[in-house]
C-alpha cells in the first residue's frame, strides 16, 4: 500500500466516522471526495495498462563494440480508453541502453514508436528486455506495472584494432613440403578430382575433367603448407587484475559518429580479449588459418580455419569469454600443445607473472612450435609485479614478447615487437627439438 493510499484511506475512515457521529453534510461531502478519489484512482490504474502492447525490434542481433545499435520500440494502446501516462522501462542488460521513455496521453487505438540508439561499449550477450510498462493514477495511489518478457538477445563482439606488422614466422612448415591432408577449405593446393557427390558446392566443380569424363567432377584440396596460428587466451581467475573504472565513456553517446574507438576498461581480461580478436582478424584477413584456445570459465577450443565465418566464430567465443577459469596457462599449454602440428605459431596472451610462462614457452619450443608472447603488465592493472623481468627472460630465450600496460594503444603492439626482436632473428626450432618432442 503506497503512503498516499494509506493517507486517503485514513481520511475516508475519519470522514465516515465523523459522518456517522454528527450526520453533518460536510462530512458526507468529504466522504464522497475521498471515496471518489479511491474509486477513480483504482479504476484508472486498473484500466491504464489493459490495452497496452509493447513490441521492440532490432535490425541486427550481432554488433561490435564501438558500433551503434538501433532498436525500435512500438507502443500500441489497443484499448478504447486513453492512457494518461505510461512509462516504458527498458530492463535490458545492455550498458547505456536508452529504451526507457515516458509517454503522455496515449489515446485509445493510438500507436507510438520511437528509435533508440545505443553506443555499444561492452562485449557480451545482452538480452533485449525484459520491458516493463508502468502507469497508475495521478495521485500515486495505485501504481501498476506489467513485465513484457525479452524478445531475443544481442551479441556484442569485442573491439578489434589494426595489428598491421604483427610478427609471425615466415609461413612455411619446415621443409616446405605439402601436408597431404585433405581439407574442406578452398586452398591454393588442389590435390585431385573426384566424382560429384550431393552437397558439393558448385564452385568446386572442375569443368575440364567433367567435360572429359562426361560426368560432374569436383576438386579436392589439401591443407595449405603455411603454418596455422593458435591464439591461447589465459583465462585463469587468479592472475587477472582490474582497476576501478567508471561504467561508461563520457562521450560514448556521441552517436553522430558511426564508430568510435571505445576505451577499453582497465582490465587484463578485456585487454586480452580485444587483442585476441584483433589478432584473429589480422591473421584471417591475410588468409591464415587461425584457431583459439580459451581457458575461461569453460575450456574453449576452436579448430583453426580460414575465412569470415571463422572470424565470426572467434568473435562469438570471445564475446562470451569470462576469465573465471581454474586452468593456468601452463596447464592450458600442456593439454593443448600435443595436438598442435609442428611449425604452428602459438600466440600466448596472458597476464601471468612467473616462471610458468617460461616453462610453457619452453614446452612449445620443444614441440617445434613458434610461440609469441603478449604479456599483459598486471602491475599496471593493479596486479602482481614482475612483467619486465619476464620479458627479459623471454627475449633472452629468443621468443618474441611484448609488454602491454594498462592504457596502451593496442595498435602500437606490432611496432614494439619490431623494436624488440627483429622478425628475421626469430629462432626456428631445430630438428632436434622437434624430434625430441615427437
Amino acid at each position: 500500500m503506497s503512503p498516499s493510499l494509506r493517507v486517503v484511506v485514513g481520511l475516508l475512515a475519519l470522514s465516515l466516522l465523523a459522518l456517522a457521529v454528527t450526520g453533518g453534510p460536510l462530512y458526507a461531502r468529504l466522504s464522497y471526495l475521498w471515496g471518489g478519489l479511491l474509486v477513480v484512482g483504482w479504476l484508472w490504474s486498473r484500466l491504464a495498462l489493459r490495452g497496452i502492447r509493447v513490441h521492440r525490434q532490432a535490425r541486427v542481433r550481432r554488433a561490435q563494440v564501438g558500433q551503434v545499435f538501433d532498436e525500435r520500440f512500438e507502443v500500441h494502446n489497443a484499448g478504447r480508453l486513453p492512457c494518461a501516462w505510461l512509462e516504458v522501462r527498458d530492463g535490458s542488460s545492455l550498458p547505456g541502453s536508452r529504451g526507457s521513455r515516458v509517454l503522455v496521453v496515449l489515446r485509445g487505438g493510438e500507436r507510438r514508436s520511437y528509435l533508440t540508439r545505443t553506443r555499444l561499449v561492452q562485449r557480451g550477450v545482452f538480452s533485449l528486455g525484459p520491458t516493463e510498462i508502468v502507469s497508475g493514477d495521478l495521485f500515486g495511489l495505485f501504481p501498476v506495472r506489467r513485465v513484457v518478457p525479452p524478445e531475443g538477445s544481442l551479441v556484442v563482439y569485442p573491439m578489434t584494432v589494426e595489428m598491421e606488422g604483427f610478427p609471425y614466422p615466415s609461413g612455411l612448415l619446415p621443409g616446405g613440403e605439402a601436408l597431404r591432408r585433405r581439407t574442406q577449405q578452398v586452398t591454393p593446393n588442389a590435390a585431385t578430382v573426384r566424382e560429384y557427390a550431393p552437397g558439393d558446392p558448385p564452385g568446386r566443380i572442375h569443368w575440364p575433367s567433367t567435360a572429359r569424363r562426361e560426368r560432374l567432377m569436383v576438386k579436392e584440396f589439401e591443407l595449405d603448407p603455411r603454418s596455422e596460428v593458435w591464439l591461447f587466451v589465459d583465462g585463469a581467475r587468479n592472475v587477472q587484475a582490474v582497476l576501478p573504472h567508471p561504467p561508461l565513456n563520457r562521450y560514448a553517446d556521441a552517436l553522430w559518429h558511426p564508430l568510435v574507438q571505445v576505451e577499453l576498461p582497465p582490465s587484463t581480461e578485456e585487454y586480452a580479449v580485444s587483442m585476441a580478436a584483433s589478432l584473429g582478424h589480422h591473421f584471417l584477413r591475410r588468409g591464415r588459418a587461425v584457431g583459439m584456445v580459451g581457458g575461461g570459465s569453460s575450456l574453449q577450443v576452436i579448430p583453426p580455419d580460414r575465412g569470415g565465418r571463422q572470424l565470426l566464430k572467434l568473435l562469438e567465443a570471445l564475446a562470451i569469454f569470462r576469465a573465471e577459469g581454474d586452468l593456468s596457462l601452463l596447464a592450458l599449454v600442456t593439454v593443448q600443445a600435443r595436438h598442435l602440428p609442428r611449425g604452428n605459431t602459438v600466440v600466448l596472451i596472458t597476464p601471468t607473472v612467473g616462471e610458468e610462462v617460461v616453462v610453457a614457452v619452453d614446452l612449445l619450443l620443444r614441440r617445434a612450435l613458434r610461440p609469441v608472447v603478449l604479456l599483459l603488465d598486471a602491475a599496471s592493472f593493479g596486479g602482481a609485479e614482475g612483467t619486465a623481468e619476464l620479458i627479459r627472460v623471454l627475449v633472452g630465450m629468443g621468443v618474441p614478447a611484448c609488454r602491454i600496460a594498462c592504457g596502451d594503444d593496442l595498435r602500437e603492439i606490432p611496432g614494439r615487437f619490431a623494436s624488440a626482436v627483429p622478425d628475421a632473428e626469430l629462432p626456428l626450432p631445430t630438428r632436434r627439438w622437434a624430434v625430441s618432442q615427437v
Partner: protein, 790 residues
C-alpha cells in the same frame, strides 16, 4: 544532528510552491471571513511568510533541529511585528511591543485565574502563532520530505475546525477550494517525484509532460470536487452512532467552558447551526439536545393570562411524506408594509416588545408568535395571498447577527379566552382554506377515521382542537428519538397507531393532520419553547428546540396548541361570550397597545432600508479582497493553463542589453553597433554563447571562420592558432556537438567555462601580438607557440 547532504535534489518547484501558497491563503481567508475579531489578515501574512521560510529551510542543508530553531527564532521576530501592526500606527514601535507584551501577559494572567479573556489580542496571538507554525511546517514538509500530505493535512484540519465553529453552509466552499489546491499539489508533487526518478534512470520525458498531466489533474480534481459537493447528503446516522455522538458531546462539555473563557473576546465562538430551521423540516428521528445557551430574552414583567411564549423561527404550511415545507416562500429584500391577513380586525391578541440577545451567530430572528417590528435590518420570508396580503413565514437578519448581539422585536401574541375561541366560528377566508387544509394523498383512511372519531360530538373547531390535543397528550408517550420509519409506511399513521411514541415534531404534525382532516385550518410552527425563566429573563437552550401546531380562528388569527406531553398544557382563561369582542384577559402593567386592532403595522416600515444597502455585500463578505483577487487571477490563469498557451511558450527573461536595445528602438534612437552585437550575444542560449567564443577568438587572431566551416573545422583551426587552449576547445566542441546532435542537453556550464578560457587565452595572444607589432613591426600572424618564442 545530521546535515542534509548537499547533493540531494530539489523536491519542489514553482508550481508546487504556488499551489501550497494558494491552499494556505484559502485556509487563512476562511479564518478571515469568520470575522471573529479584527486584524485577522495577520493570519494570511504569517502563513505565507511561514511557508516561504519553510520552503527555504527545507531546501537548505540545515538539520531538522536547526531548522526548527531557526523557524521559531524568525517567528519570535515576525509575530510581534505583525501584532504591533494591529495597534495604532502613530505609536512608536518600541511602545507597541511593550503594549503587546503587557496585554498578552495580562490576558494570560486572566486565563490562569479562570477569568474570561476579553482582549482580542490574545486570540490574535494564538491564531498568528498557529498560522506561522502551519506555514513553516507545510513549506518544510514539502521541500524536505517531498510529502504533500504532511504539508496540507494540518492546515486542512484547521479549516475543518473553523468550519465547525462557523458553520455557515455557503462557506464550506472555502474548504472545497482548499481541497482543490491541495489535491492539485498532491498530483503535482507525485509527478515531481516520478520525474526525479526518471531523471535518475535517464528516462526520456516529453518536454510538456508536466503540463499535460497538470491539465488532466485539474480536470479530475475539479470533477471530483463538483461531484462530492453536488451529491445529496447521506442518510442520518444509525442509532448506535447517536449514542457515540451523545457521549462525544458529553465529553466535550467540560472543555467548552475553559475555551469559551479563553476566547471570550472573540465574536461568535459558538457552534450552533445558524439556520436550525430551513425551508424544509423533516420529521426525522430526533436526537438528544445539549445545554448550549442560544438566546436570552427579556420579556415584559408579566405576560397576559393564557399566553405561552414560543420563540418562533418559521412556519410551514405543506406536508408530504414526512417533510414540512412551504408552498410558496419569497424573500423580499425590503420588508413590506405587512398586512397580516389573519390579524385583520383581530381581537384577543396581545402586543409586547421583547429584547433578544444571541449567544451564537444567527440568521433567523426569533420572535414570539407574529412579529410586527424588529430593530435590525431584516429580510422577510413570506407567502403572498391572493388578496394582496402576505403570510409571514420567517424573518432573517441581514447581515447575520454576531454572537452577543441584541435586537428588539415587537410581536403580536394570541391571548384569546376559551369563549372567544369557541365563538370564532368556521367562516374561513378562501386563501386559508386553500393553503391550510392541504393533506397529502398518502394519509391513511384510518388516520382520517380517527380524526372523525375524535371530532365526533364536538361543537366548535376549538373543541375539536382541544379534543385532538388531549387525545395526543393522553395516548402518545414522549420519546426523544424514534427508530427508523419502516419502509412504505406513512409517518403519521405509523406514529399514531403503531409506534405511539415520539417527539414534538410528530405530535405537532399529527395534530395538524387530524385537524385538517376534519376541515380545521392548521399549520406547523418551529422554533424554541419558553426556556428557563429567571424573573423577566428567559434563557433558551438547545434542548428547548420545539415544534407545535397553530390553528386558525376567524377574527382571532393563529393560536398555538400544545399536544406534546413533555411540555406543560396551555391554560386559557374561560372568558364569556359577551366579552368576545373587545374584552380579554386583564392587561399586564406597563405594556403598550395591548389588544389593539392590528391591521397594518406602521412600525414595520421603519425596517425599510435603501435598496442599495440591501443589495450590497455584507461587511464580512467584503473583507477578503485578497482572496477575491487570487480567485480572479486563478480564473484568468487556469483556462490559459488548461489550453497550455502560457507555459508552452518559453518565458524569456531578456537580459539588460536586449532591453536597452529594445528601448532605444522604441524611442527611435539609433542603436550603436557594439550594443547591437552585445545584445545579440546576450540573447543567445548559453551553449551557443560559449561556442560563439570560438568564432570571436578566430576573428581576434586574424582567421575569421568561413560560413561553410563546420564547428569541428573551426575548432581545429583555432587549436592550431591557440594550442594551449586545445583541451578546453575539445571540451567546448564536445558539449556543443552533444547538445546539437544527441538527445542529451549538454552541459552549458562546462561549455561556458571552456569558452571563458578560450576568450582569455585568445585575448592574451592578441595583446602579445600587438605588443610584438609595436616592437618589431611584424605584420604576419603566427601561431601562439611561435609568437612566444620571438
Amino acid at each position: 544532528m545530521r546535515w542534509r547532504p548537499a547533493g540531494e535534489g530539489k523536491t519542489w518547484d514553482a508550481g508546487a510552491a504556488f499551489l501550497l501558497m494558494a491552499a494556505l491563503l484559502t485556509a487563512s481567508t476562511r479564518l478571515l471571513i469568520t470575522d471573529w475579531t479584527d486584524h485577522l489578515t495577520l493570519a494570511s501574512s504569517l502563513a505565507l511568510l511561514g511557508a516561504a521560510l519553510g520552503l527555504a529551510l527545507g531546501s537548505s542543508r540545515f538539520p531538522s533541529g536547526w531548522a526548527a530553531v531557526l523557524a521559531l527564532a524568525y517567528g519570535a521576530l515576525i509575530l510581534p511585528w505583525q501584532l504591533g501592526l494591529t495597534l495604532e500606527q502613530d505609536i512608536a514601535w518600541r511602545e507597541r511591543w511593550i503594549e503587546v507584551a503587557r496585554r498578552l501577559a495580562s490576558s494570560f494572567a486572566q486565563l490562569v485565574g479562570q477569568e474570561s479573556v476579553l482582549d482580542p489580542l490574545f486570540f490574535l496571538a494564538l491564531v498568528g502563532g498557529l498560522s506561522w507554525l502551519l506555514g513553516v511546517h507545510a513549506g518544510y514538509a514539502l521541500a524536505r520530505r517531498a510529502d504533500p500530505w504532511r504539508a496540507i493535512l494540518p492546515p486542512g484540519l484547521a479549516v475543518l475546525v473553523i468550519q465547525v465553529y462557523d458553520p455557515i453552509s455557503s462557506r464550506a466552499g472555502y474548504l472545497a477550494a482548499y481541497l482543490f489546491f491541495s489535491l492539485l499539489l498532491v498530483a503535482h508533487t507525485t509527478y515531481l517525484s516520478r520525474r526525479a526518478r526518471w531523471q535518475e534512470t535517464r528516462t526520456l520525458v516529453p518536454p510538456y509532460a508536466g503540463l499535460d498531466l497538470g491539465r488532466i489533474s485539474l480536470v479530475v480534481v475539479a470533477a471530483l470536487l463538483l461531484v462530492a459537493w453536488g451529491l445529496p447528503g447521506l442518510a442520518r446516522a444509525l442509532p448506535p452512532a447517536e449514542r457515540i455522538r451523545d457521549e462525544l458531546n458529553h465529553f466535550w462539555e467540560p472543555l467548552r467552558e475553559p475555551l469559551n473563557r479563553a476566547f471570550a473576546a472573540v465574536r461568535g465562538t459558538g457552534g450552533v447551526a445558524v439556520e436550525a430551521y430551513g425551508p424544509q423540516l423533516a420529521l426525522g428521528r430526533g436526537r438528544k439536545l445539549g445545554e448550549t445557551l442560544l438566546l436570552t430574552v427579556q420579556a415584559p414583567p408579566s405576560p397576559a393570562p393564557g399566553v405561552r411564549y414560543y420563540w418562533r423561527a418559521r412556519t410551514y404550511d405543506s406536508y408530504a411524506s414526512g417533510v414540512w415545507s412551504n408552498e410558496t416562500a419569497l424573500t423580499s429584500p425590503v420588508v413590506p408594509s405587512l398586512t397580516a391577513q389573519g390579524l385583520h380586525g383581530a381581537e384577543g391578541r396581545w402586543t409586547a416588545t421583547f429584547t433578544v440577545t444571541t449567544a451564537m451567530p444567527i440568521l433567523t430572528l426569533y420572535a414570539p408568535s407574529q412579529p410586527v417590528w424588529v430593530s435590525q435590518p431584516a429580510r422577510a420570508v413570506l407567502a403572498p395571498n391572493p388578496d394582496g396580503t402576505v403570510d409571514l413565514i420567517a424573518v432573517q437578519a441581514d447581515p447575520y447577527l454576531q454572537a452577543g448581539t441584541s435586537y428588539r422585536v415587537r410581536a403580536s401574541l394570541s391571548a384569546p379566552t376559551v369563549a372567544q375561541l369557541r365563538g370564532a366560528g368556521a367562516e374561513y377566508p378562501g386563501w386559508v382554506i386553500r393553503r391550510y387544509l392541504q393533506l397529502p394523498p398518502e394519509i391513511t383512511p384510518r388516520t382520517l377515521e380517527l380524526a372523525r372519531q375524535i371530532a365526533a360530538g364536538q361543537e366548535t373547531p376549538y373543541d375539536v382542537a382541544v379534543a385532538v390535543t388531549r387525545y395526543l397528550r393522553l395516548s402518545i408517550r414522549y420519546r426523544e428519538t424514534v427508530p427508523p420509519l419502516p419502509s412504505g409506511r406513512e409517518p403519521v399513521d405509523w406514529f399514531l397507531f403503531d409506534l405511539r411514541e415520539g417527539f414534538c415534531t410528530y405530535y405537532a404534525t399529527a395534530e395538524v393532520v387530524l385537524l385538517r382532516a376534519v376541515g380545521i385550518p392548521a399549520r406547523l410552527a418551529a422554533g424554541y419553547a419558553t426556556g428557563e425563566r429567571q424573573g423577566d429573563i428567559y434563557r433558551v437552550r438547545q434542548k428547548d428546540s420545539h415544534a407545535w401546531p397553530e390553528v386558525y380562528f376567524p377574527g382571532i388569527g393563529w393560536v398555538e396548541f400544545e399536544p406534546t406531553v413533555s411540555q406543560p398544557e396551555i391554560q386559557r382563561p374561560l372568558g364569556s361570550v359577551e366579552g368576545r369582542v373587545g374584552e380579554g384577559p386583564p392587561a399586564p402593567q406597563g405594556e403598550e397597545g395591548r389588544r389593539r386592532p392590528l391591521g397594518r403595522f406602521p412600525e414595520m416600515e421603519e425596517m425599510e432600508l435603501p435598496e442599495e444597502e440591501f443589495a450590497g455585500t455584507p461587511p464580512a463578505a467584503r473583507r477578503p479582497a485578497l482572496y477575491g483577487a487570487l480567485l480572479l487571477i486563478l480564473l484568468v490563469l487556469l483556462p490559459l493553463l488548461a489550453t497550455g498557451r502560457v507555459l508552452r511558450r518559453r518565458v524569456v527573461w531578456h537580459p539588460l542589453p536586449v532591453l536597452v536595445e529594445a528601448g532605444l528602438r522604441r524611442v527611435g534612437l539609433p542603436v550603436p553597433a557594439p550594443l547591437r552585437r552585445w545584445a545579440w550575444r546576450a540573447g543567445l542560449p548559453p551553449l551557443l554563447r560559449a561556442y560563439e567564443e570560438v568564432n570571436r577568438a578566430l576573428a581576434r587572431l586574424g582567421a575569421p571562420p568561413s560560413p561553410a566551416d563546420t564547428p569541428a573545422e573551426r575548432v581545429a583551426r583555432l587549436q592550431q592558432l591557440l594550442p594551449s587552449a586545445a583541451a578546453d576547445l575539445q571540451r567546448l566542441l564536445a558539449e556543443y556537438q552533444v547538445a546539437l546532435y544527441s538527445p542529451r542537453p549538454g552541459s552549458p556550464w562546462a561549455a561556458l567555462q571552456a569558452g571563458r578560457v578560450v576568450r582569455s587565452l585568445s585575448r592574451r595572444v592578441r595583446i602579445r601580438r600587438l605588443w610584438s607589432w609595436g616592437r618589431w613591426g611584424r605584420k604576419s600572424f603566427e601561431p601562439e607557440g611561435q609568437v612566444g618564442s620571438i
